[in-house]
């Protein structure tokens, strides 16, 4: 059974449609990235899943119950966008409070803080923390107990690259243990490598819901190839491949995905003239702009 099921979820604020007919599921152990521009409805969707705001239409099932149900809240962890804490408390005190609220032993607090790399600052007031450190307190509280669903709104904002990598490694561990993860992010490159499926929202509508490979197939965006020619033969290579030459020795080619193998064998045929070749599939950024532009209201 899916941990999270949205069917035709609809939410309006006055005349604004924040979400229209959004339907998707998140299975146990699955990591799903929710992408969209600012105001696309990501945070609204998350708040509905958490039971913080009510939805107008459609149905939401979280761990088999209504969102916000107390038994459900015990098993759902949340990391809000721009997470905030009271500045007068220390990281350790804040985490102890959260542990007690979840009915977990407070002796776990230090271990959780060390897990997110905050052990050294545990006894300092949160008011003295940097944004990245506050974000880590937020991550630490989301790891309390063994949540079956994690809802993470921009979890890596404010984190340095090494902390981001550690964070995704932690998520991998949780997912391997069967937790479902729904996260939103603006950092498309990290989402690309570390999630199983991508849901793209645009103006409140779901415009994509598939794995990265499937999205590439659906979009059929042109593949780029960069061929690096040997000295003095760049023009010959360019004319025989039909590409555009730039910066001396490099030739750029762009072609539909189904021509990939044919193009590669063309290049191999010119092996004597070619120094190197790179095949660049459409990036998530390209896919994202492709799917986001599809909506016409």
């Amino acid at each position: 059974m899916a941990s999270l099921t949205l069917s035709q979820l609809t939410k309006t604020f006055g005349a604004t449609h924040a979400l229209r007919d959004v339907s998707f599921t998140v299975a146990p152990g699955e990591r799903v990235a929710l992408l969209g521009h600012n105001g696309a409805g990501k945070s609204t969707l998350m708040k509905i899943v958490l039971g913080l705001i009510a939805h107008d239409g459609g149905d939401v099932q979280v761990l088999g119950a209504a969102p916000g149900d107390r038994a459900v809240r015990r098993q759902v962890a949340y990391l809000p966008e721009n997470v905030a804490f009271h500045p007068a408390l220390t990281g350790l005190e804040q985490l102890c409070t959260y542990l007690r609220l979840r009915g977990q032993p407070v002796r776990d607090a230090m271990g959780l803080l060390e897990r997110v790399g905050l052990g050294h600052a545990a006894k300092r007031r949160i008011g003295t923390y940097s944004k990245g450190m506050r974000q880590r307190v937020g991550l630490a509280q989301a790891l309390i107990g063994t949540p079956r669903l994690l809802v993470l709104d921009e979890p890596t904002s404010g984190l340095d690259p090494v902390s981001r990598r550690d964070f995704y490694a932690t998520l991998d561990g949780l997912a391997a243990d069967g937790a479902s993860i729904l996260l939103s992010s603006h950092a498309l490159t990290e989402v690309e490598a570390r999630t199983d499926r991508i849901v793209i929202l645009s103006q409140g509508m779901m415009v994509a819901n598939a794995s990265l490979a499937q999205l590439r197939q659906q979009a059929a965006l042109p593949i780029q190839m960069q061929v690096c020619a040997r000295k003095g033969v760049a023009d010959r290579v360019a004319s025989s491949l039909g590409g555009v030459r730039f910066n001396g020795s490099t030739i750029n080619l762009s072609f539909p995905p189904d021509q990939k193998l044919a193009r590669l064998s063309q290049v191999t045929a010119l092996a004597d003239l070619v120094k190197d070749v790179d095949v660049i599939p459409p990036s998530l950024e390209d896919l994202y702009s492709h799917f986001s532009k599809q909506v016409r209201i």
Partner: protein, 273 residues
Amino acid sequence: MNAILAISAAEFRIAFRNRWVAIAIAMMAVFSLVLTGAGSAPTGTLGADRLSVTVASLTSLAVYLVPLVALLMSFDAIAGEVERGTLPLMLTYPLGRFEILLGKFIAHLLILSLAVAIGYGLAAGAAIWADPRASAGFPAMLRLFWTSLLLGAAFVAIGYAISSLARRPGAAAGLAIALWLVMIVLYDLGLLAAVVADDGGRFTTRIFPWLLVGNPADAFRLYNLAASEATAAAAGIGAAAHAIPAAHALASILLWPLLGLGLAALAFRKVTP
């Protein structure tokens, strides 16, 4: 229950760090000592023991100060969480909104009881030190203590309701001060004006006592005065104190904290994170 106490512990720690505990205690202590000093003059002429006179003075002080301290502690409770952005996360934890209120309520009531106990304790100590007969006023002092806590509890709860309705700390602070002014100062003045204008008519005999007992601050004053003959002599509304049964005043100060919490719960439920 553990979750409620976790909220209380965090709230108490925050109040302690923000000097609110110190401020509340200092305010109660300073005013109590000043009143004890000022109240020492008429002791001989009244024939009452020193502590009973202190209680009478403290009653008049508490009517102003206890609601003020209570509102100052509570106005930020919800609006502050909304402003800091800490509310959404807390609401996703497995505890109800009423439990959050109750957790904060316990912490604020604890701070208030510390402040009142220290303030009154100092005043009582001074009275007993100056007058060996003062122990006769001890029951009155005890009554003043727990009724002060009930009065404070009512205004802490009303403060939460204001905090939930205002949503912003600045607006909540303004509303809290306005409420204090209306309920503690203007209410009595308004009633007094109405009684004078009515000149002993139906309003004075039928409606006025209910209006008086309906205000928790007035009920608090009436109950403490009615329960203590010695202090009634020292107060201006002694006549009113006799017209209203002490049980009605007691019921009012017992009900107001519950009513306040009910209002706070209703208002907090409407806050969308």
